[in-house]
Each structure stands twice: as C-alpha cells, then as structure tokens.
Symmetry: C2
C-alpha cells in the first residue's frame, strides 16, 4: 500500500516527524501537496471528509484518514515496526511523543507568543520575553527530562536498545533547536550528552542519512516551527 | 482494580479530563494528592519512576504508570468502554482528543502567553493581546470544527449515538470557556448549537451529574487552565 501524506509543501513543520518515520520504515509514500494539483487535493480532503482533520499533517492509508502528528505516529509505529508490540511499552512511547508535542508547541511559541496569524515583527518584543524564559526554564526542563529517560533506559534510545518513532522525533527536535538557537544550544546540549548521542545515532542510520541528503528533505526556514532569529538566541 | 490518579489537589486542570472519564465509567479510584501524604507520594513517584511522567496528571493502574492526559484517556477508553472497539474509530476519537488538547493549550496561554512561571499580572498586556486574537480567530476555529464533526456524525455525540471520552472532554472545555469568558461565549456559543447540546447531554448523564454535584468536583479558580479575568473577556 502506498501512503499519502498531506502537508504544507514549503516547510518541515509537523509533517517532518511523519516523514522521518516513513523514511526509517522505508515505506512507499507520496507527499501529495508538493505538486500544484496536490495542494488542491489537500484542501478538498479537509473540506469534504466526513471525519475531517483539524489541520495538516494527515495521512491516508487505504480507506483510513488519520490526523494529528502523534496519532499518525501511533498508527505507523504499530504498522511499520517503529513501536514495541507490548501494550505498556507502546503507551510509554506514545507518552514520550506527546511530551515532545508539548515541547514543540513551546518552541513554536517562542517566535509567535501572541498569535500565529500575526507576523513575527508584530510580536517581536513579546517573542524576546518568551524566548528568554523558554531558554532559561523550559528547554532545560524538557531536555533534562529526556536525558533522564535515556539514562534510565540505558540508551542509546529512549526505550533502550530498540529505536522507536519517538527517537526520530527527538532527533528532529534537537536538529531544530540547534538551527533556531545555535548560541544557546551550544551550552545547553553540553549538559545533555545522551540527547546529543541519540541525535548522532539517528542521523547515522542509513535510511535517515539517505533521506536527509535527498531533495525530499526541505531546509529549515523562517516559516516553520524552528526559526532562527538572532535576537531570540541568547547563549 | 482501584486506579490511583495523581494530580495537583487545588485545581481541575488537566486532571479533570481524567476524573470525568473515571466518573462516567463508575470506576473505583483514589485521588492520591488530595491528602498531605499524597502530595509526597506524587513527588516520590515523579522522582523515582523508571519511566517517569513529565508532569501530572498520571494514572497508576496495577503495575502500569501512564502519563499525558490524552494517553491516559486512550488507555481508559479501551478498558472502561469509553471508546469504540474498531481500530479506525478508536484512532479518530484519539485524534479528536489531541485536537482538544491543542485547544486547551491555547486557552491556557490566553492568560499566560509569556511564561507559566510568571504571574498573570506580569504578562497582563500580552495576555490582552493574545486573548483578543484567541476570541476573534482561534476559539471560533476550534468550536466551528467540533460543530462540523457533530453535524457529520449526526449527533448527539462526536461519534454519533455513542458517548466517548472525547465528548466528556468537549463538555469540560465548553464549561471552562463559559467560566473564563462569559461575555464572549454568550455570542460565540449561540453560533455552535450542537456543541451546546452536547454539553447539556453530558451534564445530564446520571453519573456525571452526581460527580459534578459532589465535593470531588473542585470549583474553577484563578490557578487552573480556565481563569476568569474580566479584562480578557470581550463580548
């Protein structure tokens, strides 16, 4: 079966967490909205579906239409061997993914604390205040949490020796944080060596490495979740 | 089996979405942290668990420890008959819950757009700006989405004739929005009659009505997710 992924064509965004899982699983998929007619197909899907997604990304798998990034990964994890079979461990991996989802909202809101509909320039002062508290309190709290999970698991992955979709997402979060806050992350990541090691392990996996080097991998930019504004990056 | 729910004792917060599910299921549970020794037990759990939750609420079910509200509901839904058995429908209900979780973050951030660690008074100007855009754009978008889902399902519930945990959560969101923004919601909810009807249906269920009238139901206050500040409530 060929999956169809629907997501905005110009950003990594939340779609990237799904793309990384599809790449690691070597799954057959089309990134629908990257063609012009694809954007129309995506809008049609959202407008006409009986069980409509609130927003992209969403995944079509045969007759199934699945929205919400963590929910898509819950489905793919089970189907594509990126999650453990045992029920307790599967819930735990999903719990980690939902914690990453919370982290991602806070990362996004560093540059958009007032409204996603306004430009960054229209909420620059607020973004500075929010980023300061994010870098001082929230990023260390989340990174410290994942560092602790990796210590408990024995590593190199969140569950131990076996990679799951949550590891791919943590890789992407670290990659994005380094892009957005290069100065601040130099120091912060030194205090979280297990997170850094996981990032390296994921990046070196053959299918992930091939995907990252391919044109399918979009570059980070100032339209996505992870944006680099020097004034928000305090070291 | 007696469940143990761990959550802050002084607020409804995210714990309330779990309490409503436990009430509807007539499940046997203890609200651990509502006793003094319980708060210490909660801290101990967070500090010493091999698979620690990032934050309350978390639920102990026998040997399982489950964190993240939507994940707890995924588990309880299946175990307590508050979710459909069919895989596609179960994913759909979880998708709706995750969309409600996104809505809840945005509701919280109306009064805390800069940092959860700062007082409201220290981010009052930013809160006014964020609330204005929330009430003008985001609340109508989320409410309109759930209204559409209810229209498509034929109602009275999100899945149709059968109640699921997502209905209980939508009830709580509407209850909370009315508390936080009484003026703005008078108008907004008039445009979403199916959401209002669902709220009434849930409130009238015998176990929910009994729970809401009991001392176990805390009152809304200015420490939780839904807070009433007149200056943020524009009609």
């Amino acid at each position: 079966m060929r999956y169809k992924l629907y997501y905005w064509p110009e950003i990594q965004g939340r779609g990237e967490f799904v793309r990384l899982a599809l790449a690691e699983a070597d799954a057959d998929y089309i990134d629908v909205a990257r063609s012009k007619s694809g954007m129309r197909a995506m809008e049609r899907m959202m407008a006409s579906s009986r069980r409509p997604p609130f927003a992209p990304p969403f995944l079509q798998a045969g007759r199934l239409l699945i929205g919400q990034t963590a929910n898509i990964l819950l489905y793919l994890g089970e189907r594509e061997g990126l999650a453990p079979r045992e029920a307790a461990a599967r819930l735990w991996v999903h719990q980690l993914q939902l914690t990453l989802a919370d982290f991602i909202v806070e990362i996004h809101d560093t540059h958009h604390p007032i409204a996603a509909s306004l430009y960054f320039e229209d909420q620059r002062a607020e973004a500075k205040r929010r980023s300061k508290s994010f870098l001082a309190e929230r990023a260390p709290k989340f990174l410290g949490y994942f560092e602790r999970v990796l210590r408990n698991s024995g590593g190199p992955f969140l569950l131990g020796r076996r990679l799951t979709y949550a590891d791919l997402s943590l890789f992407q979060v670290i990659e994005g944080l380094r892009y957005a806050f290069p100065r601040a992350m130099r120091g912060a990541l030194r205090r979280h060596p297990r997170c850094v090691a996981l990032h390296e392990r994921v990046a070196a996996r053959p299918r992930i490495a091939a995907y990252l080097a391919s044109p399918a991998r979009l570059a980070f930019n100032e339209m996505g979740i992870f944006r680099h504004y020097r004034e928000l990056d305090r070291g």
